[in-house]
Symmetry: C2
Subunit: 419 residues, 2 copies
């Protein structure tokens, strides 16, 4: 009997977990990604703030699947899906499947604001983290030789939009980079001259957290020197300014946008499927598409309702859905009906700075040093590869003990502004 071909599109947390669960079960397994590595997105902000090198949070996919019997990897980008003929269109040609798992993730959502999209930085890819790091380091170089006080002040102002974990973690890490590293590199620049403005549309930061942890995070960031603007929205941007909903303008060339995600563009390559908020593909309780029990959509790309609300777009959901999609395919092969997917919420966390974080799991709440330890251990645990863990531990230990971040190179990124 010919092996059934399972194609997995996207090797993030969801796709990788699905592949791990399907390997060794006698399928012809094809893993597809447009990059040759799995990216640990939760630590991208540390690459952007000169805390980690790119290599520490990316792991070659072919290294992961080296000992695997059933799996092959294909580096390409999928541009369309023909559900009727069970065929994917890609730059590498047509790819047929018996089962399909689509885990293509998300893109940043600028909610139609073209000027913001043009000028803002966002963090989805490695090169974007490098671009943002280059921007921060270059602005300090420029500011240190700028004689006009207004211009200098603008160069040293950083606006962050979105008070979710990414915005909070980036704001804290940027503040520490400035206070502990860049102000020593640039004796002429005092940390008091710099401004970090964190803008959040809701009435609090980290809205997924219990109220006391939200307040702790906000108070902690403010004590560190981050300006937190709640119930405030960014409505426009230029190369030099950020515009708020009340008409205020902040002079700053750096706008970091972490205020929203939407389905990856591949969602538009599916014809005749129902789409939910943010363009996400609506899935059945078992994560398959209506009328196509052989096609599963997981992770950020899937709009999966649980208890009446769509599940959040985050790594733990994707990971669990990846394992579930694999189990569902194994069930189908065995002639059984796959069970419905149910997300088990293990909790949430965010780090604010050195020795400071918030974490919640079930009814347990942590903050400060214990939460930071939990955060640290869990992130190391979920990182792939001994070498990457070692690199991250070394970097973190070096920073913890010496207050020094070494990865502060201004490289020739795609967006490089000239010195």
């Amino acid at each position: 009997m010919q092996k059934k071909r399972v194609v997995i599109v996207g090797m993030g947390f969801g796709g990788l977990n699905a592949a791990k669960a399907l390997e060794g079960h006698g399928f012809d397994l094809l893993m597809i990604d447009r990059n040759n590595y799995h990216l640990f997105q939760p630590l991208l902000y540390q690459v952007a703030t000169a805390g980690l090198e790119q290599e520490a949070i990316a792991y070659p996919l072919r290294a992961i699947s080296r000992g695997w019997q059933d799996a092959e990897f294909l580096l390409t980008e999928i541009v369309g899906v023909d559900l009727e003929s069970k065929c994917l269109r890609s730059a590498a040609g047509e790819i047929f499947y018996d089962y399909l798992i689509v885990a293509a993730g998300s893109r940043t959502n600028f909610f139609g604001m073209k000027d913001v999209e043009r000028h803002a930085f966002d963090l989805k890819r490695l090169d974007q983290a490098e671009d943002l790091r280059n921007q921060i380091l270059l602005l300090f170089e420029r500011a240190s030789r700028e004689s006009d006080p207004l211009r200098r002040s603008a160069l040293l102002t950083f606006v962050i939009v979105g008070g979710g974990p990414t915005g909070v973690e980036f704001a804290g890490a940027l503040r520490e980079l400035i206070v502990h590293v860049l102000s020593k590199d640039h004796p002429r620049i005092s940390p008091d001259e710099t401004r970090i403005v964190l803008v959040e549309a809701a009435g609090s930061l980290l809205t997924a957290m219990p109220p006391d942890l939200r307040e702790y995070a906000c108070a902690k960031l403010r004590a560190m020197g981050v300006e937190v603007l709640l119930e405030t929205r960014v409505v426009g941007a230029s190369a030099e300014t950020v515009e708020l909903h009340d008409g205020t303008t902040i002079a700053s060339p750096t706008l970091f946008w972490s205020a929203g995600v939407a389905a990856a563009p591949l969602a538009e390559g599916f014809s005749g499927v129902e789409r939910g908020a943010g363009g996400r593909i609506v899935v059945q309780p078992d994560l398959s598409i209506k009328g196509h029990p052989e096609v599963f959509v997981i992770g950020d790309l899937a709009c999966c309702l649980q208890d009446g609300a769509p599940l959040p777009m985050m790594a733990p959901v994707a990971s669990q859905q990846g394992s579930h999609a694999a189990r569902a395919i194994l069930a189908r092969q065995a002639g059984e009906q796959p069970p419905p997917f149910r997300y088990f919420d293990k909790g949430a966390m965010a780090t604010i700075g050195r020795s400071s974080a918030v974490a919640v799991t079930g009814r347990l709440k942590f903050r400060g040093f214990p939460a930071w330890l939990v955060w640290l251990v869990l992130h190391l645990f979920y990182l792939i590869g001994f070498r990457n863990r070692l690199m991250v531990v070394m970097n973190w230990a070096y920073y913890y003990f010496f207050h020094e971040r070494q990865v502060r190179l201004i490289t020739a990124g795609k967006r490089r502004a000239e010195p």
Copy 2:
């Protein structure tokens, strides 16, 4: 009394050594580079062959000079020098000096072959090493899905021009990358299908070495599977082919050029100075420019005659000249005449592969494992920074024991070809 201003242009081996020797002597010291880091160029080829991450061989200049009293750093590119008014022109404006040390290095010399310049890869900058690594990894991805045997064979052919240390070291490292890493990543590609062609115009490799070591290196490379073509010149290139002087054409999209260097473009920004071979600026015995005892040119940019021949363009010459230029300025300040510069040749070496190298110092010659150990220890010794040394040792040890190179990410480089 006002402090004398010493400006150093270029923070490679020469500039950095000059700065170290001048710091603490009461000058107003300005260090200028177009990058914010010192680059350990001798290991660039290991970044290009996925053996080291960029961060391991680059060190932030502001981290080097943090504790220094006299020094400031300016990130900019110098475009011209006005020797009469003692003024440099840069993107950051005019910069005046009392003493000037120009250590702007070299560029790759394509000897006027425009088509080679357009299509070849070279290794002077970090981003070029990343581009070359991306190219190698991408070609293996493409070849693994290429069905046409001729096309596939071309994708897996790599042409290296220049049998000096860089060409030899790159050829050996590439061969090992293919045999030990990429052929395991790509079970469909056998190392026997790949070709590495090392092209050298002279009758032997490593012409600076004694004859027996030259022959050892050549025999070793050939035993590893590298095709060495001696007395052969590359005379043209296209995106798909490399053309040799005898009319032979090699089908290959990858041409790595390490067959020549010339003075950096800044040499053209000096008016009225004598230029030697490769556009290098002819210097007096004390390394100053004729008629301008306050201006020193060192390293690859300087054409310095010793025993009737110009000194080679390599790191040890630059380092020693950097220290000498500093001493010469201190002598001038003390009203003394600087002594002439004399290069002390400590020897030469090149690594060929794991546990295999050639080295010569004075009358001592090493080859094989002892030479490789010498190479390893000296490169670690000359690397700057505890953290960089640790990273390099970790990477080398990992490779030595596990035959695995982890830095095989295809990143969004400047020249990235789409998958």
